[in-house]
């Protein structure tokens, strides 16, 4: 089975596939996380104190990570999505592969910047 | 295994093979036949993905004006074939090619190379007096077959893929063909397909030689079946060798595959093991001489060199500048690189390699044979090329006659009211023949195939002699007899390639014998057939072609005079003031 996994890994280790999986996973996590985020916000009406305690908690590293993970995911996913649309809609010629890889690298970089600044 | 184990299947028109001939037949049959006619395409591999039409590189010969005429194409074909072609067939080939190319371009959608002004680009293969060869880069066959294949796949023709035809089954009175016995290779089961008309387009394929170019599925099955059905076969000694096949050792299937003609045309040099360029010793044109001449030059050079370690000769391109070679012959360079050779910068070892089979079933210009209900087209049919096929006439031949076969069958079956009953005795014989190895002790088949290929190459190859061929005949018999003792593991007959290897070798042995006997019968040297004991070509006016058939269980070969129905040796169909060639000399 180890061999099989190694085989699978080999077949997919190229930048475009990694960009795809990153986009998909970030999208998926966003979709899972966003409801939580909404729920937290809506506490503003139902239970303001609750929200405050929760927001206080944002000082604790774990929650902070989670909240900022959202920011991070959003950034990654957004740039990834813009990348996909650029790739599909602008008629790339020639060395597009490198270009696209570059774009994803830059978008990842920006996303990380956001993240670092946030933390 | 008994008769009752054979599944039955009925159709109206059955086509065997999906090369240029088979696919065109399927399309034309569908266009010409009455609505509701059932058409079935049975093929040894996958539709459109086997056979040699797909492997066509150089292109498609057709006279499309600009000075070139059907007459000129025809004269080149007759002269290339050294006056042996059946002239009516050759004429029809040249004439219909014009229609077929428009069909390929307009209806099938082929994407051929163009000139700057948008017209079709045509080039000249060796042996032609006009720029006549239409092409798509050097992958013409892929383009033609892919487009045809799409059409056929979308057409609703019944598909029987990986179905191997193993026997033509006539009616009990022998007056007509009733159906074809096949093996469904995927399951290993037998299937008898009855049809009102059957086209055999299984594409010959001289793969009984140590070095050969055709695809692996081609093993002379069709001609072996026709022989057993008692049909006369003509020009069976005529095996075309391509001068430059890749020599990569006996452990790789790459060995024998073609390094393209254009390499020599562009100035590639042939060099022997002592580092000498030798082709000018054999011909003024050096490496640019025609296929048969260069093949013989290389073969002779190989014979001189007795070291078995250094078998072939080398083709060297590097003096033309590796980068320019890399650019001009991108596909070839890449192909060589994939198998570990540097064509652009280094020399690559080559040998002549069996390429095309001019011989085949005797047919009329409408592809009908002596057996009612059986039609033959493409490389399986003899006559159009005589002793030598011009580069570019092969695919023209298969597509032209495939189409004609489709139309003819569609017309002929109108008067046939019902399917014919097969002769059970012959059915039983053919079945027994196919299952023969299954009840014997399994042994390796490969060494025996190698043995046949080795002896055909040595004794019935590029240069032949009487004693050599007689020795060959004995060798073939030996291989053939041994084969009957060799068994195949029958634990699982589904997709059992070893069983099919056995059957392949069976067909190859049968046809090798015919090739050799026809070679013995022709006591002169014409085109592809060269005898060092009879180097003379003989008088053209007295040209004869060989006719082989099975009588009882003996192969006999007769000779028949060529009918010069359209033009006699020494004459031409071209106007008196026509130039010898329209090809600009470089």
């Amino acid at each position: 089975m180890g061999g099989y996994l190694r085989m699978k890994a080999l077949a997919r280790s190229h930048p475009l596939w990694l960009a795809y999986i990153l986009h998909r996973v970030s999208g998926l996590l966003l979709a899972l996380f966003l409801p939580v985020h909404f729920w937290v916000l809506s506490m503003a009406i139902t239970n303001p104190q609750g929200l405050d305690t929760l927001l206080l908690l944002t000082d604790s590293v774990a929650v902070k990570l989670a909240e900022f993970g959202l920011v991070f995911l959003l950034a990654v996913h957004m740039f990834g999505g813009l990348r996909v649309m650029a790739l599909e809609w602008l008629p790339w010629t020639g060395s597009q592969k490198t270009l696209i890889a570059l774009v994803s690298a830059v978008s990842f970089f920006i996303a990380t910047l956001f993240f670092l600044r946030a933390v | 295994m008994q008769l009752t184990d054979i599944e039955r299947h009925d159709t109206d028109i059955l086509i065997l093979g999906s090369g240029g001939a088979g696919l065109f037949a399927a399309l034309h049959a569908q266009q010409s036949a009455d609505a509701g006619t059932k058409i079935t395409l049975a093929v040894k591999g996958l539709i459109g993905k086997c056979g040699c039409t797909r492997m066509v590189q150089g292109g498609y010969n057709v006279a499309l004006g600009g000075g070139d005429t059907v007459e000129r194409h025809f004269m080149d074909t007759i002269e290339g074939g050294k006056w042996l072609p059946d002239q009516d067939m050759a004429w029809r080939l040249c004439e219909q090619a014009v229609v077929r190319i428009r069909e390929l371009e307009n209806e099938i959608g082929c994407f051929f190379d163009r000139n700057a002004d948008g017209t079709l680009h045509q080039k000249a293969f060796a042996g032609q007096t006009a720029d006549r060869t239409v092409h798509k880069g050097d992958l013409t066959g892929i383009e033609i077959i892919n487009r045809l294949m799409e059409k056929v796949l979308a057409s609703g023709v019944e598909k029987m893929q990986e179905h191997r035809a193993i026997g033509l089954i006539p009616t009990a009175d022998g007056s007509a063909l009733a159906g074809v016995l096949m093996i469904d290779m995927r399951t290993g089961k037998f299937r008898l397909v009855r049809a009102k008309a059957v086209l055999m387009a299984t594409g010959g394929g001289p793969t009984m030689y140590k070095y050969h170019t055709p695809s692996g599925d081609k093993t002379m099955d069709g001609l072996a079946m026709a022989l057993r059905a008692g049909l006369p076969l003509r020009d069976m000694e005529m095996v075309q060798f391509h001068p430059t096949g890749l020599l990569a050792g006996e452990h790789t299937r790459m060995t024998g595959t073609v390094l393209e003609e254009g390499l020599r045309g562009a100035g590639g040099q042939l060099i022997n093991h002592s580092g000498q360029r030798f082709m000018f010793d054999y011909d003024d044109k050096g490496e640019r001489a025609t296929r048969d001449v260069v093949s013989r030059g290389i073969y002779a050079e190989m014979r001189k060199n007795n070291n078995p370690e250094n078998e072939g000769v080398f083709i060297s391109m590097s003096h033309l500048g590796p980068d320019s070679v890399r650019q001009k012959f991108k596909g070839m360079v890449k192909r060589c690189a994939d198998s570990g050779f540097d064509l652009a910068g280094d020399k690559v070892e080559v040998v002549p390699t069996a390429h095309y089979f001019m011989g085949g079933v005797i047919v009329d210009v409408n592809t009908r044979t002596a057996l009612e209900g059986l039609y033959v087209a493409g490389e399986d049919a003899g006559g159009a090329h005589g002793s030598n096929r011009l580069g570019g006439n092969g695919v023209a031949n298969s597509t032209v006659y495939g189409g004609i076969a489709g139309d003819t069958m569609a017309a002929d079956i109108r008067s046939i009211k019902s399917l014919r009953e097969p002769d059970n005795a012959i059915l039983e014989e053919e079945l027994a023949r196919a299952i023969h190895p299954l009840s014997r002790k399994p042994q390796l088949v490969l060494p025996l195939r190698k043995q046949l290929q080795e002896l055909m190459w040595d004794d019935v190859g590029v240069i032949r002699t009487k004693s050599g061929m007689q020795q060959g005949l004995a060798g073939i018999k030996n291989v053939s007899d041994t084969l009957m003792e060799i068994g195949v593991d029958d634990s699982n007959l589904a997709f059992n390639l070893t069983w099919h290897d056995w059957l392949n070798l069976r067909s190859l042995c049968d046809i090798s014998e015919v090739v050799t006997k026809a070679g013995l019968a022709r006591e002169n040297s014409r085109g592809a057939h060269h005898r060092s004991d009879f180097p003379d070509s003989g008088q053209m006016q007295d040209s004869e072609f060989t006719v082989a058939r099975l009588e009882g269980d003996k192969v006999t070969v007769n000779r028949e005079p060529v009918q010069f129905t359209l033009v006699r040796p020494g004459e031409t169909l071209l106007p008196a003031d026509a130039p010898d060639t329209l090809v600009a000399t470089v």
């Binding site: 966003l30 966003l34 409801p35 809506s42 503003a44 405050d52 920011v71 959003l74 | -």
Partner: protein, 110 residues
């Protein structure tokens, strides 16, 4: 399983969200410098039509966009198909929309 219409819908909503997300991100980073509090958030957003429209548009777009996205994933990775897939997509979209709408209402007009 994605046809032209769903594809376009997903892209259009994506394009719509992109500037919104950017603005939101910038504000969040700016805002969190001093830590978050309910008052701070509400102070900014309460009673603002602009923010209502801003976040309102976002949650509608996000609901549509991610419903289509999750539909694709559910199909390709879990193998849900046919009517069930449509139900799944609509359910995801509706849930996201309701949760989102509640949140937007909470921070603007509630």
């Amino acid at each position: 399983m994605l046809d032209l219409r769903l594809y376009m819908l997903q892209r259009i909503t994506a394009l719509l969200m992109a500037p919104l997300v950017l603005v939101h991100l910038i504000i969040m980073i700016y805002a969190i410098q001093g830590g978050l509090s309910t008052a701070e958030i509400l102070g900014r957003t309460q009673g603002s039509l602009i923010w209502f429209l801003f976040y309102g548009t976002f949650i509608i777009a996000a609901a549509i966009h991610s419903a289509i996205g999750l539909r694709t994933i559910a199909f390709e990775w879990i193998g849900i198909k046919g009517p069930l897939l449509t139900v799944f997509m609509l359910a995801v979209g509706l849930t996201l929309f309701l949760l989102g709408a509640r949140a937007v209402w909470a921070v603007t007009y509630a």
